[in-house]
């Protein structure tokens, strides 16, 4: 049953390309279309579904019903929102930079959709099979900083300027821990190519061994998250990913309680919808990359391939929603301090721990390395974290405050 769906999809692709054998130029076009069109459609649908999922999830967390009027269980709500956005008047402030006011949403959507191309959806199912896929993902990820700044600067409004400045500072300072926590994984799996990273997380010997139980666990136990440096790396990666996608504890650029909607204040109508979509799709892309690097991409026990990838991606997105429903927001300077003085040194330390783990595995075999790694590696990281937060004098360490009850 493994990768059954992926092979079917690849065959379908080859079949459609085969249709145009006698017109070579058209064939190249169809080949390119096949690589990009299904991806955009799938992820637009995923965006629609995720808005519904977010609103329903948040509602249930807050003990209310969430949208249930449009369609059964409110499933057509994203459609309704889309149409509403289309009909809304598109106000452009007169003193704003018309050209860049218009360009900002476009500039934000382009990297979002390119980044989605690098996700290894299934065995061989990759829109842009490049050798350095992961690196290209991070490069494209850094583009949306410019788009957010452009939006903030061009709408000529004090709040959006503040939002733009915050966004640029936040995204730059969280890109580095993001990349560094991925370095540990790349160092281990030996290549930047997404397919090889996923392959390195499957225990090949068990897979080939034929007996069902071994095959079942072979797909799971190899994931990087079960290794000490993998688990710590996953925490750093996920925290940095939240900041990169402007999601909850770090949604400072459009902190609605302080600077109204940050860089989105002056946008209305479909431009706002495009911003919204670009943000969700870049959140999906980062969740996808997190599953590829740490949760074993599309490898999974029974229905390996595309279904597992989608389940993992949506579950990570659900965790993002869960966090959005619970946590308050960090302040700008704390955000910066947290990135530079806490995440960055720990990510670098994590690379060293991964290195020692690699050599320990060579010397004492994987089981001993596994146990030793968890005890020593994770211990080092934990003490480093405590030391660092004491170094930054973070108030959470000054212990519980005692309140006396006076007569």
């Amino acid at each position: 049953m493994n990768n059954f769906i992926d092979y079917k999809l690849i065959e379908l692709g080859q079949w459609t390309v085969g249709l145009f054998n006698d017109y070579p130029v058209v064939q190249i076009l169809v080949h390119l279309l096949l690589a990009t069109l299904p991806l955009t459609l799938v992820f637009m649908g995923a965006f629609g579904f995720s808005t519904w999922l977010e609103r329903k999830g948040l509602a249930r967390i807050q003990n209310r019903l969430g949208p249930n009027r449009v369609g059964i269980f409110g499933l057509l709500q994203p459609l309704a929102d889309g149409i509403k956005m289309l009909l809304k008047e598109d106000i452009v402030p007169d003193r704003s930079d018309k050209l860049f006011h218009f360009l900002a949403p476009v500039m934000l959507m382009v990297p979002a959709f390119i980044a989605v191309g690098f996700l290894p959806l299934g065995d061989g199912l990759m829109a842009l099979p490049m050798d350095s896929a992961i690196l290209f993902f991070f490069a494209v990820g850094s583009l949306n900083t410019i788009a957010v700044f452009m939006a903030g600067w061009s709408s000529r409004n004090k709040y959006s300027l503040l939002g733009g400045m915050r966004a640029v500072a936040q995204m730059i300072s969280y890109e580095i821990p993001l990349v560094l926590s991925a370095v540990a994984v790349i160092m281990f799996s030996g290549s930047l190519n997404a397919q090889e990273i996923v392959a390195s997380q499957q225990i090949q010997s068990w897979l080939a061994s034929g007996n069902l139980v071994k095959e079942f666990f072979g797909q799971i136990l190899g994931w990087h998250i079960f290794k000490p440096w993998g688990f710590a790396g996953f925490i750093f990666f996920f925290v940095a990913a939240l900041a990169e996608a402007n999601r909850s504890p770090f949604d400072l650029p459009e902190a609605d309680s302080e600077i109204i909607a940050g860089h989105l204040t002056e946008y209305s109508g479909f431009k706002y919808a495009i911003f919204f979509m670009a943000e969700y799709i870049s959140a999906f892309a980062i969740a996808g990359i997190a599953t590829t690097l740490f949760l074993g991409g599309w490898s999974g026990p029974v229905i390996a391939g595309l279904p597992w990838f989608i389940i993992k991606m949506f579950s990570l997105f659900a965790v993002m929603i869960w966090i959005r429903g619970t946590l308050p927001r960090l302040r700008v300077d704390q955000l910066m301090g947290y990135a530079w003085k806490f995440l960055l040194p720990l990510a670098i330390l994590n690379i060293f721990v991964a290195g020692f783990y690699y050599f320990a595995e060579q010397q004492f075999g994987s089981l001993a390395a596994f146990i030793g790694g968890w005890v020593i590696g994770f211990g080092i990281l934990q003490t480093a974290a405590k030391g660092l937060s004491r170094l930054n004098k973070s108030p959470t360490l000054d212990g519980k405050r005692v309140y006396q009850l006076v007569e």
Partner: protein, 377 residues
């Protein structure tokens, strides 16, 4: 700790000061209240509060209406705690004419006041965390609990918020049967909600980093700024009017007063959480030994006090709510002055916000707990 109160017309790097009007229509100003902020980058350099958007001249209105007619207007002062506003006005008006208040009415007044304190504090904590950015989840839990208590008020006085329930010398109507048992059930279940609320918020790292050492107010500053209520107690001053004036029958209940030590936003949030637990203790005792009997003293046919002036005050959930009444022998009050706690607590806003970031200014305003109906009167 950022340098306190430094004044710069141009910041170091020559970029000019950004003037932002955090205007009447802003998601976190708890009503129509405007702050003219002068920002150097993200840091607040100067702050000018602007009031008056909700000013209805409540005091002029009351001068040509009989005393009893002013009672429904007191609900509109601090529209979150109707009962305590009524009680404050009733208390100061009762000083004008000798009226003895029956036991049962005193107990009902204490029960209603403490229920209002529960509503106000859990709502305030919800709004405070909402300003921190937690997208309404704690606020909606608080609103869910508030609904139950508002239903109690609806059955008792007929309206959820505009209760108009207290009269000079007692209360308007008696407790409907079954009300006390229902109230006991709700108060019994409140500590469980408070525990859940505290685990969600108390030692949440982000709440701690965001609100500790923010908007600090020392003891001397607090007394000098005439701050009252939980804000004063969070700075370490032990001054609770229920204990000082011993008005009503508060001296019969044993309850403690929580005192903070640092006087920052986190302490104000924690003092309010602990005060809710104290209110539950009072409520339990009051419900246990409420006597039977009349609910209205011997109220004269026409309320016509002879010329004098009096100042009655109670510990409303936001601070000291006082009524300064001058009577001139006619049925209308000659001068009717409200001493609103949130209006006076706002004097310290500018002092606390200078030197902090924009995000902190929003939280400090949230921790003061203002309601614009009371600020602008």
């Amino acid at each position: 700790m950022p340098a306190r109160g430094y004044h710069l017309s141009k910041d170091e790097l020559g970029a000019d000061i950004l003037e932002v009007a955090m205007g009447p229509h802003h998601p976190s100003t708890h009503g129509v209240f405007r702050m003219d902020l002068k920002l150097d980058g993200e840091t607040v350099v100067d702050l000018k509060p602007i009031f008056g958007y909700l000013h209805r001249n409540h005091e002029k209105l009351a001068e040509d209406i009989p005393y009893l007619g002013c009672m429904p207007f007191t609900d509109r002062l601090d529209y979150l705690c109707g009962m305590t506003n009524n009680w404050a006005f009733a208390l100061s008006a009762e000083q004008l004419i000798e009226i003895e208040i029956p036991e049962r009415a005193q107990y009902i007044r204490v029960i209603c006041a403490e229920l209002t304190r529960l509503i106000n504090h859990c709502l305030l904590v919800g709004f405070f965390i909402n300003d921190l950015g937690a997208l309404g989840t704690p606020l909606l839990y608080a609103l869910r609990e508030r609904e139950k208590i508002l239903d109690l008020f609806e059955t008792l006085s007929g309206a959820r918020m505009m209760v108009n329930y207290m009269r000079f010398g007692g209360v308007r109507c008696d407790l409907p049967d079954g009300w006390l048992q229902e109230c006991e059930r709700i108060v019994g279940r409140f500590p469980a909600f408070l525990d859940e609320y505290e685990t969600l918020l108390k030692d949440n790292e982000i709440v701690i980093t965001r609100s500790q050492n923010v908007g600090v107010l020392t003891q001397e500053e607090a007394t000098n700024f005439s701050i009252t209520g939980p804000m004063l107690r969070a700075s370490g001053v032990n001054y609770d009017i229920r204990k000082v004036d011993k008005y009503g029958i508060y001296d019969r209940f044993d309850f403690k007063v929580p005192i903070g030590a640092h006087g920052d936003c986190y302490d104000r949030f924690m003092v309010r959480m602990l005060e809710m637990r104290e209110s539950i203790k009072i409520l339990k005792q009051a419900i246990a030994d409420i006597p039977e009997g009349p609910i209205m003293g011997n109220e004269p046919r026409v309320f016509k006090p002879d010329p004098q002036e009096t100042y009655g005050r109670i510990e409303s959930p936001k601070g000291e709510l006082g009524f300064y009444l001058i009577a001139d022998g006619t049925t209308n009050p000659y001068r009717y002055k409200v001493r609103p706690p949130s209006f006076v607590n706002l004097t310290a806003l500018r002092h606390m916000c200078i030197g902090h970031k924009v995000a902190d200014a929003v939280i400090i305003l949230g921790s003061i707990d203002i309601v614009l109906g009371e600020v602008d009167r």
